[in-house]
């Protein structure tokens, strides 16, 4: 699996010189499987830049196919869809799997985004590409491009967000963005999902102090992310979904503090990787 980060910011895009290094685009991560299949995790504004990049490939000729995994439908996870160039090219095919009580409800949520009050696209039907939308049943695995995908919900403020585990041969990648655990931490099902991951991407929106002040928003501190990585025996922890007000220097400080916390709590062996736009990893 090859992983690339296109958007690593939480809540709302944060342009400006002080976010240049980590990036100000909202959540979007691409995974290219060993068979060459593309899996896209979340559709924040980073998706626009992934789309422009894909125009040089089969997607530019209307012969592309990809799987999109949607953790939840908050704006910062869907706002890139209307700006994703491959969706305007007939022939491209997208299988979208996400959080929703039914497939039609999930499709309705995406339709709502395109409503003419809000968007000049009016409806998903005006996108040239084919969309096949499926609501995910937690715990029921499916395959995408030879990768086994399993999802489990985490609490996230007033809603839940799906965490995804992607297994390909011996390699495993977990994507757990937008996580606000209860007092007991992750559920047993989520602990099992994280267990032994080669890379655990985890919500690190906040410092512990900011997290304590904003508990109701349903995000994690770097300490909660580190605890999850240590408990899971993960090889790598990827910090992700930085608060919109955090500058590059703030994220540097958050990462350093997270490193120290890992070292002090039995996580010395865990490699800490702060997600940044343009960063690529091979698992």
């Amino acid at each position: 699996m090859k992983i690339r980060f296109w958007g690593v910011r939480g809540s709302i895009p944060a342009p400006g010189p002080d976010t240049n290094r980590y990036g100000g685009n909202t959540s979007c991560v691409s995974v290219t499987t060993a068979t060459g299949h593309l899996i896209i995790l979340d559709m924040g504004t980073g998706l626009m830049h992934l789309g422009n990049h894909l125009l040089a490939s089969e997607f530019g000729k209307g012969r592309g196919a990809a799987t999109i995994l949607l953790s939840h439908a908050h704006w910062d996870h869907i706002q890139g869809l209307g700006f994703f160039a491959p969706v305007f090219i007939p022939g491209n095919k997208f299988e979208l799997r996400g959080h929703g009580r039914s497939s039609s409800m999930l499709e309705g949520i995406l339709e709502g985004q395109m409503n003419p009050n809000f968007s000049p696209l009016y409806t998903l039907k005006n996108l040239g590409a084919a969309f096949d939308v499926h609501a995910i049943v937690p715990g029921e695995p499916f395959t995408a491009g030879g990768v086994r995908v399993t999802a489990q919900p985490n609490p996230h403020g007033t809603t839940t967000a799906l965490a995804f585990r992607l297994d390909e041969g011996a390699a495993s990648f977990v994507y757990a963005s937008d996580v606000g655990y209860g007092p007991d931490g992750p559920t047993p099902a989520v602990r099992a999902l994280y267990r032994g991951a080669d890379a655990l991407l985890h919500d690190t929106t906040y410092t512990p102090a900011d997290q304590a002040r904003r508990q109701s928003r349903g995000f994690s501190s770097y300490e909660q992310a580190a605890d999850a990585a240590i408990a899971a025996g993960a090889r790598r922890l990827i910090a992700f979904h930085y608060d919109q007000d955090y500058t590059d220097a703030d994220v540097d400080a958050l990462t350093a503090a997270c490193r120290a916390y890992l070292d002090a709590h039995g996580g010395r062996a865990i490699e800490l990787i702060p997600a940044a736009e343009g960063l690529e990893l091979a698992l």
């Binding site: 709302i12 342009p15 990036g23 939840h72 439908a73 003419p116 009050n117 809000f118 000049p120 409806t123």
Partner: protein, 318 residues
């Protein structure tokens, strides 16, 4: 009055090094009449930082009042609203103005922006009081000592241009609009550029009347802020997207006799260098036509002082 730009980008916010100078936030302009509360035009992502700045004033203790004029409710003009800090402080008063819809009340449009599952805090849970005011073309009304007038634009689902007269100066905000020549954009979805056939007379007349109303709105303005998202070549490919070129803006500025034309609503993929080149070309074009007005391009943080404001008066509201 002071005019300050908090977001100048069209369509979608674009963070990154290539937009550092002009800025990557979507549409938001603050107009501050001398000694009065702010009048905010559009609520793109730029309004987030404006909200933070306002919290250092009376909005921080819940005794602020702001008026927000919305050109239209496309995402790039409202997506910052849920991140506008004064909304989360009890006692603040917000008045939101936008064009009346045939089918949906303005309040319902804004309520659906933040309903489950799109956003965790619904409109009904906000601490500040918000009042929605629906407008129709030609409305004239006062906000404190500022006179506001408006006219419709040529954009899918229809946008409004606003003129604000105060402190002996006038500013016009004209975003988003296509020129008034090739296509009439209203409520139908138009998927392709028009074929280039001459327009039926009724449509051509309607566009001409719309343009005349806009020129009248802009008459003698000190500052005209205008959607210039496209180059001429880009417009040819996408006239149905509802955006103009600098040449269109220059023609309106000339006919209306404005003092300064400000290019605005920059294309998302336009780098700072490309935007510099567009500004230079627009200046050269106006100059070569003998136009006397200035041409500038909006960037985040740009602040202009207009009319009988010495620039030194406190901007803190009464």
């Amino acid at each position: 009055m002071k005019v300050r730009f908090w977001g100048v980008r069209g369509s979608i916010p674009v963070p990154g090094p290539s937009t550092n100078r002009y800025g990557g936030n979507t549409s938001c302009v603050e107009v501050r009449p001398r000694g009065a509360w702010p009048i905010i035009i559009d609520a793109g992502t730029g309004i987030r930082r404006l909200g933070k700045a306002l919290m250092d004033e009376r909005f921080g203790d819940g005794s602020g009042t702001a008026h927000i004029l919305i050109s239209h409710t496309h995402w790039d003009h409202i997506q910052g609203m849920p991140f506008f800090s004064p909304l989360y402080r009890a006692g603040n008063k917000l008045h939101v103005f936008a064009r009346q819809r045939g089918d949906t009340h303005l309040q319902a449009v804004f309520a659906s922006q933040t309903e489950d599952p799109y956003f965790p805090v619904p409109l009904s849970a906000l601490e500040a009081s918000i009042e929605f005011h629906e407008l129709v073309e030609g409305n004239r009304f006062a906000i404190d000592k500022t006179l506001v007038t408006c006219t419709r634009l040529n954009h899918p689902w229809i946008a409004m241009a606003y003129r604000l007269d105060c402190d002996g100066a006038a500013v016009v905000y004209c975003s988003d609009t296509a020129p008034f020549s090739d296509i009439l954009l209203e409520h139908e979805f138009i998927s392709k550029p028009p074929t280039g056939e001459p327009l039926p007379k009724a449509i051509a007349d309607k566009l001409a009347a719309m343009r005349a109303s806009l020129v009248a709105l802009c008459k003698g303005a000190d500052l005209l802020i205008y959607d210039t998202q496209f180059t001429i070549d880009e417009y040819k490919l996408r006239p149905h997207w509802g955006h103009s070129t600098p040449e269109d803006a220059i023609a309106i500025a000339r006919e209306a006799g404005v003092k300064t034309l400000c290019l605005y609503h920059h294309a998302p993929m336009r780098s700072d260098e490309a935007q510099d080149a567009i500004l230079m070309a627009a200046r050269w074009s106006a100059k070569s036509h003998g136009d006397g007005f200035n041409v500038i391009a909006a960037h985040e943080g740009l602040e202009l002082v207009l009319g009988d404001d010495d620039g030194l008066a406190p901007v803190v509201a009464p």
